[in-house]
Every structure is written in C-alpha cells, then in structure tokens.
C-alpha cells in the first residue's frame, strides 16, 4: 500500500532541514485543502509525495500583524478566516479581506492558508490579485536564509513558483497603503459560493485630490499566473476618474490579459467579464478611496 512519512516540525529551521533532506520527495502541508485533494486524485498513479512536512506547528508562519512603520505581515500559515476577519485588513486592505472571504466554504476558509493558496499557484487563486494590487512581497526562507521577492515574480506558471524544493514561503509583506487609497476585489463564478474564479479582478486606486495618483489592477484566472494589468494602470494614472476613463481602462485590461478557454468559460467570455469587472472594481475602489 502507498504510504508516506508524516513530519511535524516545530520550527522553521527544522521544517527547512526536512525539505532539504527529502528534496522533491517531500511536500509541505498547510491547510491541505489543495494538497490532500491532489493526493487523492493521484492515488492510483503511484506518483505522490513520500514525505509530508506539516507546517501546522511552525510558529514563525502563523498570524497576522500590522504596524504603521512596517505595514502588514501575513504569516504563510494564516488561514483565510483569520485574514477575512482581521479588523486591520478589513479596514486598510479591504480587497485582501474580500479575496480571503471567497475561498471555498467556511470549513475551507478555516483550513486553507494564504501561503497554501499562493504556493499552489493556481491562476485563479483568490488571494493573489488583491495582494498583487497592494504590491505585496513574498518572504522566502531556505537553507541559506531569507530572501524577498515581489509577489509578481513569485508566480512562474500554473502550479509553478519561484520556490526551490528546500524553500518555504514564510510570510507576505504588504506595504502601508498610502492615504487616499481604496481597494476592491471580486470574482465571477457561475454559482454564488463553493466555486473557483472564472475571472478575478482586484483594483486599488490612490487619489490625490480629484486625480488618480496611483492605480493598480490585478487579474486572476485570465493568464498562466495571477497578473497585474500594467497598461490599464498606466491609462488610469494621472487622470480624473470618470465612467469613460474606467471603461477605457477596462477595455485595455481585457485586451492585455491572455485567457484560455476551458469548461469554466470561453476566452471570449472571460475577456468580456474582465472588462465588466474591471470597471466595477475601479468604481468600487474609487468610492472607497473617496469615503476614506
């Protein structure tokens, strides 16, 4: 019978050494909402990890913290529920809380972690577009210490990240949002919950008076990885917000993404939804920026 060894390290160092020791044969386990399902689906193929390294007891990975000087730190082990319910995230990083609150069911949200959602590297990961819109950084720990990477560079393709086999995503750092910033995330799914994004759109607008000083638009499920929409952002920055401007930016973001067709939607449909949702998220972000 197919078996695997289960490790439960109690420190980050110990976890890293286990990964170092077992290399490709090991897989880290956080909430298990992706990994366990994948292991079950592959159960007949004999191609499964022979070592599971549980991250549950690694204290360095847990929790959410915030300071006015350093901004937000989300431990890779923070659950979607913790993020969705965090008062500071809800207040200052609204889109991130909205992304976390959409992942699966309540039960899924209580198990799934931010690190897991990012490391699984699904193009549809709901936590990714909001983090991209906030220009988050991934803090990676390996045998030779820590390194930081812009989250945009963390994703390499569907299921692929910049992590080496012996590295772990330890936390995500999100800079302090400037005053006058508003953000929003939503996704399109055929049903209202328990679903996977067909399109996800995050927008963050920083207003300077009546002008958009900084615009960030990030898209999920319409490219091999979650992506920013730099041309749409450029179209927005320096302009006075208006329905026409948002419509123009939405057209640009629809044009610059590269969706595939699959059973969840045609490429044409996904582009259309990107256009609709970019407009909506920009409007929402603007309202929030204005209402402080």
């Amino acid at each position: 019978m197919r078996t695997f060894e289960y490790h439960a390290p109690t420190s980050l160092n110990e976890a890293i050494s286990l990964l170092q020791e077992h290399g490709e044969a090991a897989r880290p386990l956080a909430g298990g909402t992706d990994l366990v399902v994948q292991m079950k689906e592959k159960a007949t193929k004999f191609a499964a990890p022979s070592h599971i390294v549980s991250l549950l007891r690694v204290p360095e990975l847990s929790g959410v913290s915030f300071s006015e000087s350093e901004g937000l730190r989300i431990g890779a082990g923070a659950t979607m529920s913790q993020v969705a319910d965090s008062p500071i995230i809800r207040e200052r990083y609204r889109a991130i809380a909205e992304g976390a609150a959409l992942v699966g069911s309540i039960q899924t949200m209580n198990m799934a972690t931010v690190g897991g959602n990012l490391c699984n590297a699904a193009p549809s990961a709901d936590i990714a577009p909001p983090l991209l819109a906030f220009e988050a950084e991934a803090v990676i720990v390996g045998p030779s210490g820590r390194r930081k990477l812009a989250l945009e560079e963390f994703f390499l393709g569907p299921g692929k990240t910049a992590l080496a086999a012996d590295e772990l995503l330890a936390e995500v750092r999100v800079p302090l949002p400037p005053p006058g910033m508003g953000s929003a995330y939503d996704r399109h799914t055929p049903r209202k919950q328990m679903d996977i994004a067909v399109v996800g759109v995050a927008a963050a607008l920083t207003m300077a008076g009546e002008r958009i000083e900084r615009a960030r638009v990030a898209l999920g499920a319409v490219a091999p990885t979650p992506v920013r929409a730099p041309q749409a952002e450029a179209a927005l920055e320096g302009q006075a917000p208006s329905d026409e401007l948002f419509a123009r930016a939405a057209d640009v973001s629809a044009a610059e993404c590269s969706p595939i067709a699959d059973l969840r939607g045609s490429a044409e449909f996904r582009r259309h939804i990107v256009r609709v949702m970019t407009k909506r998220m920009l409007r929402e972000a603007l309202d929030r920026a204005r209402s402080g």
Partner: protein
Amino acid sequence: MAQETEVREEEMQREYRNVGKPVTRIEGAGKVTGETIYADDMQLPRMLHAKVLGSPYAHARIKSIDGSAARQHPGVEAVFTPADLPEYKKNFSNRRGVIFPDEEVLFYGQPVAAVLASDPHVAEEALALIKVEYEALPPVVDPITAMEESSPLVRSPLGDVDRSEERGHVTVGVEQEEAEGKPSNIASQMNFKRGDVEAGFEQADVVVEHTWRSAVVHQSYIEPHSTVADYDASGELSVWTSTQAPFYIRDELSQTLGLPENKIRVTATEVGGGFGGKIYLQELMVAALAMAVRRPVKYIMSRKEDMLAATPAPQAVIDLKTSMTRDGKLTALKSRVVYDSGAFPGAPMLPGCLLVGGYYKCENLDIQGYEVLTNKVSVGALRAPGAHNVTFAIESHMDMMARELGLDPIEVRLKNAVEEGDPLPSGQPYPRIGLKQCLEAIAESEVWGRRNRERGTGNRGVGLAVGGWLGGLQPASAIVCLNSDGTINVTVGSADITGTNTSFAQITAEVLNVPLEMVNVTTGDTRTAPYAGMSAGSKTTYTVGRAVKLAAEDARQQMLEIAAKRFEAAPKELEMADGVVRLNGSDEKTLTFQRLGRLSTNFAAPFPAVVGRGAITTRKMAPGFTAQAAEVEVDTDTGEVTVLGFAVAQDAGFAINPLSVEGQMQGGASQGLGIALSEEMMYDSEGRLLNGNLLDYRMPTTRDLPPIEAIIVEVPSEEGPYGARIVGEPSIVAGAAAVGNAIADAIGVHLTDAPFTPERVLRALGKL
C-alpha cells in the same frame, strides 16, 4: 364508484387527528445526528472491498486484459476480468444485464475489471496494474449526429430490450416500437397523432417554432451507489444496498444468477438520496463477486465513479411548433422529441412524448419521439424522468404565444389546461386532476404578485410554468400487528426515500385512532416484508399507503371482534379511541390495546394474534400537477441570473404529512433550479466526461437558492388513501421553464439552451 366518491368526500370533511397534520420525519433524527446506518457502515467478518477499473475510451474494442500483475500485488485477494467472471445470464442490450463487456466498450468509465482486497486502498492501487489493450473505435457523442444515416454505429446491434425499470417510474399502457430494419443508432421511436396539425397551424393567428436543448444532469445524491453482498453456506444470497427497489433487485438477480427468489434477501439500507437513480446498477457485480469468492464483498462508488458510470438523466433536443388563435386557443402542436439514451436503451421517451402534448387540450397533434444511442454513460431516472426537458419546450412556447398575442400567461394556460376526461396524446383519458387549481393557486402566490410591480424595474422579471407527472402503478401490501403492550408494528416492503414510513405511521394511527407514538413502521427485507413495488414513480404513498390503510382497518376489525366477544356485543356497538375500546361510550366496559394485545399473545390466550393484512393493486393513475413561478434578476453585463423568489403550487390530492409534502415541493424545486441555472455534465468530442466532480458539476448551493413558497393544492385522487395522489416528482418539472420565462420577462429574450449560464445569457443578449 359514485358511492365510494361520496364516502371520500365525507371523509375529507372529517376532522383527522393524525393524517393531514405536519409531522417531523420519524427517521430524521438519526440522519441529522449521523446515527443512521448506511450501506457503507456495514462491516462483515472477512469482508473484501471491490474497486473497479473504468474504460479510458468512450468506444473501443478490448483486445486483451491481463490481470496477472494485479493478482501478484501484495494484499490483493482476487482480480476479475470479463474472463474470470462466474456464469450469469448476460444481456448486452441492457445496462443492468452486463457486468463487464466481453469485447466492446461503449462509454467512458464503463467498468471492465475489478479487484478485491481486504484494504480498499490496496484494491485501488492494484487497478493500475491491470493491463488492458484497447483498439479505439470512433465515438458518437451528439444524439442528433447519431441519428444521421452516415453516423458510425454506437455499438453492435441490440437484442431484445427489457423496459421493466422504466415502467416503475411511469406506468401507461403504451408500447414503444423497437427499431427494426437497417441497424442505426435509433433504439426506439414512437408517434402520437391526432387531427391535422397543418390545418391547425392554418387556423392560428400565431405560430411559434423553436428547438430546445437541455443538458445531461446527474441526480447527485449525497451518498454514492453503495452495496454489500454475501453468499452463505446455505446457498442464500444477501444484498444490503442503497436502493429504491429491493424487490426489483431480487427479481432481477434471481433471473440473472439463477437463484430462486426465496434464496435472495435484498435489504434496502437507508438511502442517502436516490431521486430515481438508485434502482439497480452495481448489485449484480457485487453479488456475483461475493458468490465467486464466497466472502462478503463491499463496493462503494467514489464520487467520480458515480458521475462517470451511474445513470444520470438524459439530454434532450426538442423541436416544437405550436400555434394559437387570437383568443388564446391552442390549435396545433407538432414536435420531434429526441432523448439521448447513452450507450444502452432506457431513455424516458414515452413520458416525454406524453407530456409535451399532455398539459393542454389540443385537437391537432403530431409528436414523434426518438430514443437515440450515443457513446455516453447510459441514462436512468431523475425525478419525473424526461419531463423537465419537454416542459421547458412547451411552457416556453405558451409564454411566447401569449406574449405575442398580448394575453395573460395564466389566462392562456387556464383556457387550454387539461382536466378530467381530456385525452393524453395516447388517447387515454385523464382521471380527476388539479392542473387548473394549481394555476389558480400560483396566481395568488407572493412571487406572481410581484410580476407587474417588477416589470420595467432594472432587469427583474417574473415568469411561470406548469408541469406534471403521470406516476407509476404497482401492487403493494402491508402488515399491521398488535403487540402485547398495545403498541402497533407496521411492516412494508417499500424503501423509505421521502418520509413515506412517517406517513404510514400517520395512516395507521388515524385508522386505529391512537397517538402517532404508538405506531412504529419498518421496511423489511425481501424475505420478511410483504411485496411492494419500487419507491419510484411517486407511487409509494399512493399505493403502499392504501395497503397500509387496509391492513390497519383489518387489524382494527380483528381488535373489535375480540372486544365484541369479551363484551358479548356486536362490533358496531364498540368505539375505539386513544388505545381503548369502549362499549357504547361507557367507561365501565373498556378494553385497552394492551389488554387486547395480551389476550391475543399470552400463553394460552383465548384469541389469535392480531395481524392486519392489506394488499392492493391500482390501475388508475393519480397524476400530479404543479404550477411554479420564479422571480429573477439578470445582470445584463455579466449574464448572471439570480433567482430572487420561487413559488410552487402542487396538487397533492390530500397531504397526509404537509411538512413532508412541502419538503418534497421545495426539494424538487431546488433541483429544478439547478437544471435551470447550472447543472450540466460536459463531454468532450471523444465522449470523455470533463466535470466528474461536484466543483465543476454545479449544483446550486443554499446561497444560489431563494426562499421557496410551497402552496399545497388538494384535489383528491380517486383511489389514494384519504385522496392522496402522487407527490414526489412533479416539483422538479417546471423549474427550467419558469426561470426561462422569468428571464424573458426581464430581458425580452428566451434562452433555448438550459442551463442558463452567464455565457449563454450574454450570447442571447448579443453581447458575445
């Protein structure tokens, strides 16, 4: 007959103490606390687990199967390829008549071999070691293409087709023609004709013609197919299985395995959802393997296996042309009804053809039905099988014609609705039915009341549709026994899938005039229970309920006779209430049920045990109709449809347990909304199922469903207990049509393909 009707009307006016009262389901507590024992909870000594290898091709020839490596795998007890199976009577024209194909694989996921091991994971692992060499054959996936003369054949020609399972769901005296002549993919066809449709179209002021498509949908019960079987030293086969049809399985196993029926014990374990899909499927394989290895065998389908290889409900393509005069009279209806049966016959073409022309009076009909084979999984029943597909077509047409003529959709339907005596397309007249009463009731619903208020506000709309189901008919029987402490045991042979045993307790308690708590109802196995038909076709309360009532009346009579002898009085001088029999209302001459129980069970007791017997046959249908209204909001930018409100009016005849009836109405409506909004099994061009999981096969969640208003209409049936008629199925029938009509009310366009996904809505709006 007239006399019986009078009696019934008198009965209807009586004040009941048990029937007609809302009662929580007796077996409900066990289900919500997890105490209920399901087939998968069965553990027998020396039991083996079966795992099954499915075909990776939708159509292929098996050139060779080599199970030797799997046999060598540590922990594996046995491997069964087609060549290793014990003798059984094969019937390759029926899905249930084949364990594994000898040669030709007909659908993706079709079982071709099995492994047995003490550990299910070991069995599963060993499947990968079975070497199968296939020669791929061209798959035929689309039913319309399959009908073309140039289409490759789905399979080698069929032999005789056994349609006994379908008749359990709908029992009407019509035979369909099996296809003859040149081999084609059309398994059977039928035609109903009345009047002259062309003349009917000529007389009309509006003619509407469209093609309506609906998807393959899955019953998606919580509990997948689950079976345990054992064959003992005395030559008796025991099968514990999640089924709606224990006696049917017994009969089929007897014929296929060559065992007498009295040596087969089928126990219908508590069913974790069936909806027509749990009749008879894997039981033959599990029984045959258990007999071959002489050990108990358990087989529990995974969710994926269940979606690949159980029996979902068919897709259909309905061409419909209808016409109406300016004053709203339906003048002609012409339809081609095509059901995709998958790889084996068994599609509900007959009910589809009956219902497409069965809701309205129409002098000119021409309905042509086709049951077409494709290389997809074979279909089964899903709650009023086939009805929602055709209802989507005809009910969309009724709205389109009404709209074009500027007529009210309820008025148009009332004007044409069938009533007692009107003929079905087959010519058979309807018995007493309540279609009009349902329409009148839905007109009073809150949801319909919002129709005119919502018009023109945003993209909201309200629509309605009717639906119906004719129901199955089968003999039934029941036994009611008095225990020595005065309590009552009822034994039936019907699987309780909808709370029927609770209703039987109510009926028994009503007849004996006792509190419900004094009655306990058991579903026995096929050796101990009196015969009942399958719990399908909505007929369980209608048929078994009548047998229970008779059995309770028989027990009552026996008890009164004992009391009469004790009091030296005539039975008619006695009355029975609250577990006591009294002579002429006196408190002096009384006998408690407990006393009666002792007098008929104790050592040297003077009276025989009280055993009431009820057995019936019913040949009269009690069709159930419904009218349903939906209120929707359409996001015209994203194409999302949100159902804001839904109402179901349904004729239950007499609601023995109104709580249960409402639950059936709401549950069926929820499934109807799934068919309308999101449920669809998707296949690629090679016939492979793309979404064999409950993430991408989208059933509505609680957040997708609105509150569902349930309005019970009661037009008594002629033979059902207390006037009850069929209840379980009609509620699923009208959802797609009602939502489609509400969408059209909101955005002015009818969608012709269900489910109404955002992408389809956007295409209908011309936005993609």
